[in-house]
Structures are given as structure tokens and as C-alpha cells.
Amino acid sequence: MRESGETTVIAIVDDEEMVLTSLRSFLLLETDYEVETFTSPEDAIITLKDKPLDLVISDYLMPGMTGIEFLLEMKKIHPFATRILLTGYADKENAIKAINEVGLYQYVEKPWNNDDLKLTIENGLERRFLMEKLENKIQEVENKIQEVQNVQQNLQEIQAQIIKAFM
């Protein structure tokens, strides 16, 4: 769960409606995530551009663009969202190659096991929130540093004025 208390958003992209339906029904039954499904990666990009996103699951072989290309786009739009590739066996090689290129969190082989998938999603989300938290902490620390620096600057200025006044 996000710190802000907002709903977790998951997007699933697969050109096969049946895959989307079975995944969505499982996740809706077992989790409180908001699940967005798309049969076209292009539509997904357009819709997800202006929405918060925590995790995205994509098929590999789709008309229009591959899962790798799609996930690369997602990385640009939502760098913190966890990226999972759902692949058939024959696409495994390509998935492995893409791990570094796309910063893939995990690939899941079809046919998948619901419990395993759920665990992967949960872990992926936890990582995503930790990453965000870490990012926030870093930002906080940087802000504090900036603050301290600003105060220091002010102090230095004041010090300079005092010295000037005394001289």
C-alpha cells in the first residue's frame, strides 16, 4: 500500500482478451488493486500517460510493438513502476536479453501459476514502494541539506555583516 493511501494501480497488456480477463478476475478477487487492461500497447501508452501507475505486466509478442518496446516506453513515463514480462516459452531468450535493457523486474512464463504470479506482483510492488520511499528519503535529505546550506549561507551573511559592523 502506498504511503499516501491511494489505491495501487496495475496495468496489464496482452493482445489476447482471455488472458486479460483471467488475470483481472483473479486480481480483483484476491487483491484491492485497481486493474487496467489493454489489448493494444499503443492504447495503453496513451491512457497511462496521465495516470499514476505502480506495476505493469506485458505480453511479449503483440501486433504493433513487442512487450520490450512497450515496457521501454513505460520506463520513460513511469520510471518507478515495476515492469513484468509475461512470456511464452519460445520468447524466453528475448526476455532475458531485455532484462537489463528495460530494467525488467521479472519475467513470468505462460502458463502461469496464480499464487506465484500474485507473489511476484506483491514483491514487485513492495520494491516499487521501497524505491519510491528511498527516493523520497533521498529527496528529503537533499532538501534538508539545501536547507542547512541556505541557513549556513544566511549565517555566513549575518556573520559578515556583524564583522563589518564591528570593524
Binding site: E16, M18, V19, T21, S22, L23, S25, F26, L29, E30, G88, Y89, A90, E109, K110, P111, W112, N113, N114
Partner: protein, 602 residues
Amino acid sequence: MSAEPQTQTSAELQAENRRLRRSVDELTILNTIGAAIGSTIDLNEVIELIVQESAKHLDVEQASVMLLDHGEVSDPFRTMARKVYSGSDAIPFPLRQQLTGWMLKNQRPLVVNDLAADERFRSITSADFPVKSLLSVPLRAKGQMVGLLNVFNKHDPDGFTAEDQRLLSIIASQSSQIVENARLYEELQRRSSEAEDSETKYRALMEESAEAILLATVSDQSILEVNNRASEMTGLPRGRLLGRTLEQVLPLARFPDASGCVSMCNGETTLLATSMPLANSGETRYYDISATLVVYSSNRLLQVVGQDVTQREQLAAHLKGHAEELEREVEARTGALRDSQARLVQQEKMAALGGLVAGIAHELNTPIGTINSSADTLARCLDTVRKTLCDPSTPESIRENKRLQQVIDLIEDIARINKLACARIVSIVGSLRNFARLDEAEFQSADLREGLDSTLTLIRHELKNRINVVKDYEDIPPVLCHPNQINQVFMNLLVNATQAIPDKGEIRLRTFLDGDEVGVSITDSGAGIPKENLAAIFDPGFTTKGVGIGTGLGLSICFKIAEDHGGRIDVESDVGKGSTFTLWLPITPPDGDDEGSEGKSE
């Protein structure tokens, strides 16, 4: 006393005297010619004598004898003209022709006293030999005309008288027999010398001949003459050959009998036997035997020729052996080629099938994944429904609805069965793609136990309930190999094992490490392999299964695959107890390292 004798007139005396003298002359001529009979038998000398005596006693310029050449009666003019003696060559040909023509036709003496005036010969007088008068009488022997005796140009200008004709006729009759005898003698001489010549030549030829020659009679085929070669051929000396029959000497050849000889033409050669073996002094030589009907000294004889063809036979035998050897070689090579072709086709088929299977497995992923996931979700949904039904806040009418309970039970059952069925399909698909791995060209590190298990899943229908599979897996390291090929070996060995078990039985699978080799043994409790078949089971095409069940290629391909991996397959078998096939693979194949790293670097 009477003076009667003295009263004869002188004229009468003179005439008497002339008659006596003539008689003396005639007698002298006859005597001279008669003496010649004794003195010589040479035809030329006899004729010369006759010509001289005739010319002398008839007082003429020229005399000649012409003889008919016996045996060449078709052109008597020319042949007669050839035998012209004592200068009568000079007689112009047309005259000779006319003269002989007339004489042959009329067969009586001819007198011409003025040739120029004679109707028959006028046209043919010649300046080279001016003939004014001529007298010709026939020479006869045994009533046949054998020649002519001619005299030309009598010195007495009155020409030939009847007396001259009588005298020449007497000379001719006296000479005829002598001439004929001389001629016959000469002919005999010539003939006998010719015969002698040809016999000598024939004998020399026979002896010089490289071929064995036997002469035999046509009637009883008894041998009359042989050459040395014939003795060599038959192994019998000349003395033991003569008098025997051809059949006795050459029992294997089929000789024509007397009637068969009749149908043979003179000089025509008939081949009686080819490559007839004849063993003499331990060595067998081969002969072509042929027969020719020949006329030898006017006898019809059978000439049998034996040609030594041993060298030809040896060459032929050598060639035949060579050809057979080549044929065997070609056959062996063709067989090997056919086998490797069949193997290639089989491998090609397996590869194609592997690709197809992998494709199908991939395509099945989506629908199976969906059903699998949905069945699971359905079961979870029902859990929620049950929980809701148990909740006290739910109206009792719904909680206690039996029909609803029943439907929920049914849905639960179906979801459970669907999950089980899906799990089965997922497992099969997994095995399929594991079995038909698409990494064909590359050596990969693989756990042989996984391949063995995948293959077992695929042949589950062969096992059913009749075969108990016992796994005895020791820990083994991964092996660098072509996993799909090794799986093919497992498939073959496992299917063979199930087919070896006729009814119920057991298959024991063992994996173990021995040095740097990994062993996988598959033991069946089946029929076992008879000893005589054990050596042949890896041969391509060998099968004891019925048509349509086995191609006979399975084990030969397994053997080839094991070899390609630097490994081998061992067999132990007890008839009635079962067989154990063990696949041995080195952990790292001899040339697998390079291929493997190459494959990975791509």
C-alpha cells in the same frame, strides 16, 4: 629253166624298189619311234622326236604337235594352242584356231596344198609365217582325240600326196599312245609331287600349330593322326591316341556322329565345347574344342582342334573375382549410404517434429494459462460464496437453499477437475517443449534426469497401469550435450523397454556417475534378447517387431547419437529376465567444449 623273174620290166622293178624303200623307210620310222618309247618317257623329248621324224620323212619346213589339255575341255582351242611344240608357236593364232577347230569338228586328216586358194583358210595367211600347204592328222588314244600332228610347206612344189597322208597317219598312230603315256606319266608326276608337297606342308603346319589337332574318320571317329599339342592336351602319347575314338579321348565334348558330319559343310567349323577342363599331371587347363570337316587326300575327315584357353579362363576368373569383389564393395557402400540416408531422414523428421512440437507447445500456453488461471480463480470465487453463505447476515432462505448448495458443490467439483486436467496438460506441454528443445545445434548443459522425466511423461500411455517405473537416481552433474538428441535416445530406449514387456512388468531407471562419465541405465523385466540377435540390434534396419511397429532404425540412431557425444550404449540381456541398456556420456564431450562456447557467444 624259166627266165620268168628276169622277164620283169625295169619299170616294174623300179616301182617295186620304191615300194620296198618306202616300206624300209616306214619300218625305219616306226623303228625309230618305237625305240623312242624305250629311250624316254619324257613328254617333251617324245614330242621333239616325233616332230623331227615327221619333218624328215615328209620333207617339210615345219612340223608340230598340239595336245588337248585333259580336264579343261571347255575351251579346247586355247588349251590346245598352249601345247604347241617345235616352233609352231610361230603359227599365227587365227590359223591355229581355225585348224584345231576344223580338226575337232571333223576328226579326220586334213590336206591343204594351196592355203591361199582354200576357202576355209585363205583369209588368215600371215606374212610372218607364210603357210602354203599343210597336212594335219589327229592323234588318238583309246578312240579319243588327244591332239594333232601337223606338217607345213612341203618342199615338193606339188604338195602333199596321198602317200604323205598315209605316212603321217602311220606316224600319228604309232605316236599317239606314246604321247598319251608320256602325258599321263607327266600328269602323274605332277600330281604326286603336288600331293607330297601338300602333305608335307600339312604335317609341318600341324606340328607348328599352337593348337592341338586330331584327325579322325567320319564313320567311326577313330583317330588317324595327331600333333604333339594333342598329346599335351590329352595327356596321352601319340601311340595311345591313334586308333582310339574321339569320345574316349575327349569325353566331355559332344562330337557330331557320322550323320551329323553329313550336315556339316566342308571347311565349316563347329564349336563343340568352350572352356572344357582337362586335368593332366595335377594341373587343370581349359580348351575350346572345335571340329571342321576337311578333305584330306580325297577322304572326308573330321579335324578336331583344341585351343588352349587356360590363360583366358584364368583372366576371366580373375576378372570375375574382381567384379564380384567390386560388386560386394558397391553393395556394402550402397547399404551404408542407404542406412545413413535413412538415419538422416529420420533425424530430419525428428527435428521437424521437434520444431512443430515446440511451436504447438508455445501456442498452447495462452489458452492453457487462461483456463488454468480461471479454474483457480473460480475455486477461489466459490470459497467467497461459501463464506458468504455461512455468514449469519445472509437470509436463511438463501443459506438453507439445497438446490443452491448442490449447484455450488457441482461448480466446485468442476473447477477442481478443470484444475487437475489443466495441470496434466501443463505438465505434458512442459515435457514436450523440454523434449523438443529448440537448441538443436548447440551443446548445452543439461540434467539428464530432467530429460528422462520429460520423456516418461510423454510415454505415459505406454506405461498405463501395466508397468511400474522405479527411479533410482543418484546425484549426477549436468552433462554438456544436445538435450533433444539425448531425449530422443531416452524415448527410443523407453519405448523399446515398454514393448519388451508383454504383460505387466517393471522398468528401473538408474543414473550414476562413474569417473568423468555419467551413466543412465534403463532395465526392463521383459522378454530379453537372444544371443544371436544381440550383436545385430544396433544395425540399421534390424527389427524383430512387426511391419508398421518398428523401422529398425531406432537403436542405430541411438548408437549414432551416443557416438556423436563421445559416448556409447551397452546392452546386457538375459532371455526371459529382461534387458538393460546403459547410455554412457562423458560430462564434457571431446569436441563439445568448442561448440558449446561458440553457441553461447552468438
